[in-house]
Symmetry: C2
Subunit: 642 residues, 2 copies
């Protein structure tokens, strides 16, 4: 039997989906291209696909995410509710927020720009800044006449050949050809050309009247499994103009790369995943950035991309199946011959495209870019880079060697498998302090004044767990061990701590951290610590050999390192040895965008970095199990430092 | 007032067009993307837009193309009929035939292939054949393992680096990357790669299992103002597989390049013209060729294009306005950096694209390609190339020098401004003999047995006018001077010769050649002869200096040279000095497709050929006027040869 499900979206829009009896509401929604959040791939664990049955009937499985009184009011998980009859279903904004919320920030003069300004300084000192391979060259042409009827393009090339700074064979791009006749005549044959200098050839990308002040821009793109961050950069000054981020549109196919790969090998899947990241995420975001900066897409003349191996494959439409099958071999590490029009996003068709190289199936271009932007590849001292994304990746080494590994931390730090987790956008609790006596929390929430809390992002999660542990509200196993009005237990006896009561939250229901969430988180933090320990042990270094730790990832405004050490996530080193460097993948892409030498350095890192496959390392499992306590089964590792 | 015009198409389709009072039916039809033939741009002269008013009313101007009894039956010219009320209008197939008829010919073993087989022989002798810049290289890869987890692309490049024949840096195209993982594993890591060798880099375009027999194909494209001809060629053997031609979809904007340029500079015009040639002509034709040959578009790895200067601009979407404005300067002569995906037609995204260079606004790549394929650029003897297309172009010279000019012959040879003219497709009269006494004609018609005549193509036109002149039916001024059942005069006294009566023709109405048509033709042939004479005089050569004449153009199966000389179109040389070489532009594109050296030779011709601007030459007008007689005012030029 086929029924019609009327999805009523927050904001008033109605979508009519035909659904077969037995299909889930999540599946029915997909048919009309309504992507309800389901970072757990629809297996009922994340609780993010909560909708409300307004009319009609449907068969629901019980869920720990829906309290009995909520069930009575019509609340359901879309993934666990099957169609049995026609129904009307309300889809709240929260059920769409994880994936799609787009945020654009004007960076000219903004606080968010500081990280790039200081990186710019550092790169400048190293001679790795400003060589974009693009130059703006003036040319004054003899006007054509009946006895000098040379074509415009050849006339321009002749004039440029007489100018210093343009070497080798000069060619004109089709885009520049298209507008050349008009620009020459509007400018009285005095123009400036944007030239892309390749090894043997100089390609005229664009042409403007002399005296015009064209905006020459480029894109630095970080494609994360959960979030995408993009900078639109002024290529003449190297300054970011506007930045944006949005949820990766692929998230409807699961929070982690494995779910994405599985979906991608289904019929039509590769194209669906490419659409998810390009049509539904990067293209609209770049379009918005362009609108904001007042430029046309064709004024994007260079693009730098950093992403993990799976994301790079899916972004380029490359078959990714073998990334997840032993012996875990990707289709490529590096790709070199791309131009703007290969990408399917707004850009000049002949824009140069640089992609950070991966070194293994689970250590991708985001990590080589991060090893660059953290500068650990240039330092004599031994450094550790910890990149906290949907996965966790580590790089250890110095100017002489670099070793990297990946640990399956899961999507905890980006909120994926935490019931109240969310990305670090408006409404996310990013920091928290708990009063030891009263157990009352004080929250810091991302967003404008009056923003109510809606969930926890990575940094908020670390903070709150650190506080719960410090206050003795939870024990070393992550179980609630004190009683009070904020500590509650459900009918199955699973404890939870209410961070904010229903009347204080965005959704109007309690925001709480359950023991199931704690368990997910402890496994995630255990994965990271045990990976660090395994890698150093293997290289025969004690933990104390680490001189500096660079923590990166888009998990909030930063991490409370004291808490992260206290719960056994990071090694017990001095606070002054820790540096939070934000999104090191985006910073690396930014460096590659603004400098060809930087891009070459990242390529060099890709070639020299050693990949350690943790899963095949005999002691890793033992280390992991030992780390799944607060702070650790070996308490001496976290004893107060002298 | 707005009215609805119901266009009933031959074949049964109905189109409802909203039309303002005063608009012509031609304009109303364009609004619903119905392109009624109008090679004269809708000024009432060509008579090709004949439709029939079935119901309703409309205001019509009188036309010599519609007889009074036809008018009474509802026949109208769409361009000269204005909307005054709702109406129902029948559009016969003939009103759509000039532009869109597509014809595909299987060339494997066909007669039409002979011209390419003999060209192939000639090119092979000259060492200008078979170097496509593509090679199929075998590679056997070590299978990946946990301790050798190099990515597929890098693994392939490593294996190729150990193979002879692949030089320089090796890169993998995005297309090949996309399928590489599957092909490697399906083939047991034994593959063959299609590699494009550029100056410094080798790019892997595609990858196939070892032992597979992939079809490697390329396209040779000739874009004429009226017709487009395309060959799909097997790049391994160099043999054409299938050929096709179709009307240039831009023809609704006028028969000549000037009308097209004028339309292209109107708002949105450039895009409309690009759609006309790509979306409505080349893409469907190539799709049909691919279907016919059983290949996917991505198996087209190299594309060669030859076209006149305006067509090349409009094909690439380049602003063409200045081609027609003094001093007649195109945007470019040569364009070098194109890849398949720049074209918007089926092809591998990284296919190499070569475009024959132009040398002036009215001597384009079709002529440099023709100067190559006619081989006049290699000969010691003095040759003349006469290319009869919508325009007429000439090249004179030998291995030491080449000079080219264009003459405004108008579209007569492709049927454009001849009332009964048509392209050389089914139904076209391509040859004719007239009995001197009875004045009865014997026609040879293109098409299968029983094909009724529908019009005259260029070769038929020359033949019939030659016969009319020989039989004394017309005089030296192109006026009818005998009487009989086939010679008739209309109410204005304009004479016509009935080639076929209504009951013998495709359309069911008389097929006749009017004195207006004769006038158009005599101007066209006069333009050609006077151009030849002016160019030779300027170079101080007598006509007799021409040792060989190569006649090209897609105007039928060939030209009756005796007739062409008798009417004063071609110089009075020996018949054995004349060679009809078919479509020399397509042959040139074919050579450029099958050989990089040939493409370089065409580029060399573009650089060395001199362009003569006839219109600025003082004696040209006098020569032209003198040539507008049959055969010429100076009869001694066409006196019987000793």
């Amino acid at each position: 039997m086929e029924y019609t499900i009327n999805f009523k979206l927050d904001g008033g829009k109605d979508l009519m989906a035909p659904a077969l009896a037995g299909e889930t509401l999540l599946e029915a929604a997909k048919k009309v291209n309504l992507a309800i959040d389901a970072p757990c791939s629809g297996n009922g664990t994340c609780g993010k696909c909560r909708v409300k049955l307004l009319a009609g009937e449907a068969a629901s499985e019980e869920s720990r995410h829906i309290a009995p009184e909520e069930y009575a009011e019509g609340h359901r998980l879309a993934c666990s509710t099957r169609v049995t009859a026609p129904a009307t279903v309300y889809v709240p904004a929260t059920a769409l927020a994880y994936q799609s919320r787009m945020k654009v920030t004007d960076l000219e003069g903004a606080r968010e720009r500081a990280v790039f300004t200081s990186l710019q300084e550092e790169l400048r000192v190293m001679g790795l800044f400003g060589d974009t391979g693009l130059s703006l060259v003036e040319a004054r042409l003899a006007e054509p006449a009946l006895d000098d009827a040379m074509a415009d393009s050849e006339r321009l090339v002749r004039a440029l050949g007489e100018t210093a700074g343009v070497a080798g064979a000069i060619q004109t791009s089709r885009y520049a050809l298209g507008k050349l006749p008009k620009v020459l005549r509007e400018s009285g044959f005095a123009v400036q050309c944007l030239v892309r200098n390749d090894k043997e050839t100089s390609l005229i990308l664009d042409v403007f009247p002399l005296g015009a002040a064209p905006k020459l821009t480029g894109l630095a793109i970080d494609i994360g499994t959960t979030s995408v961050s993009i900078l639109l950069v002024n290529l003449e000054t190297g300054d970011p103009i506007v930045g944006g981020n949005a949820g990766n549109g692929q998230i409807r196919y699961g929070a982690d790369v494995i779910s994405r790969i599985i979906e991608s090998v289904r019929p039509g899947g590769l194209e669906r995943l490419r659409r998810g990241i390009i049509d539904e995420c990067i293209r609209p975001l770049v379009t918005e950035l362009c609108r904001n900066a007042g430029i046309a897409g064709e004024q994007i003349y260079r693009v730098a991309v950093a992403a993990n191996t799976t994301m790079t494959h899916l972004f380029l439409g490359v078959w990714a199946e073998h990334i997840r099958l032993e012996p875990y071999v990707p289709a490529f590490f590096a790709v070199e011959n791309l131009r703007g029009q290969d990408l399917g996003i707004p850009a000049h068709p002949d824009a140069a495209v640089v992609v950070a190289p991966g070194i293994g199936s689970y250590v991708g271009g985001d990590i080589t870019a991060g090893a660059f932007s953290s500068m650990i590849f240039k330092k004599d001292s031994l450094s550790l880079l910890v990149d906290l994304g949907t996965n966790g990746e580590l790089v250890f080494g110095n100017a002489e060697f670099l070793m990297a590994c990946a640990c399956s931390a899961g999507p905890a730090f980006e909120g994926g498998d935490i019931s109240c987790g969310m990305r670090a956008t408006d409404g996310a609790v990013e920091a928290c302090a708990i009063d030891t006596d009263t157990m009352e929390p004080r929250l810091s929430v991302i967003g404008g004044a009056g923003q109510k809390p809606a969930g926890l992002c990575g940094s908020g999660l670390i903070d709150i767990i650190g506080e719960l542990f410090r206050c003795g509200i939870i024990n070393a196993k992550g179980k609630y061990s004190r009683e009070g009005k904020r500590v509650q237990r459900d009918e199955w006896g699973i404890g939870r701590y209410v961070i904010a009561f229903a009347d204080e939250t965005e959704q109007g229901r309690d925001l709480a951290l359950t023991e199931t969430d704690l368990d997910s988180f402890i496994r995630a933090k255990g994965a990271i610590f045990s990976a660090i320990k395994t890698m150093l042990t293997m290289l025969d270094f004690p933990m104390e050999a680490i001189e500096n730790v660079y923590v990166s990832g888009g998990i909030g405004s930063g991490i409370n390192i004291t808490q992260a050490i206290a719960i056994g996530m990071f090694p017990n080193l001095g606070l002054e040895q820790y540096h939070y460097i934000g999104n090191s993948s985006l910073s690396g892409a930014y460096a590659m965008l603004t400098s060809q030498k930087a891009a070459e350095a990242v390529a060099g890192i890709g070639k020299s970095m050693t990949y350690l496959e943790l899963s095949s390392h005999p002691s890793y499992m033992d280390e992991f199990v030992a780390a799944c306590f607060l702070p650790h089964t070996d308490a001496s590792l976290f004893a107060p430092r002298a």
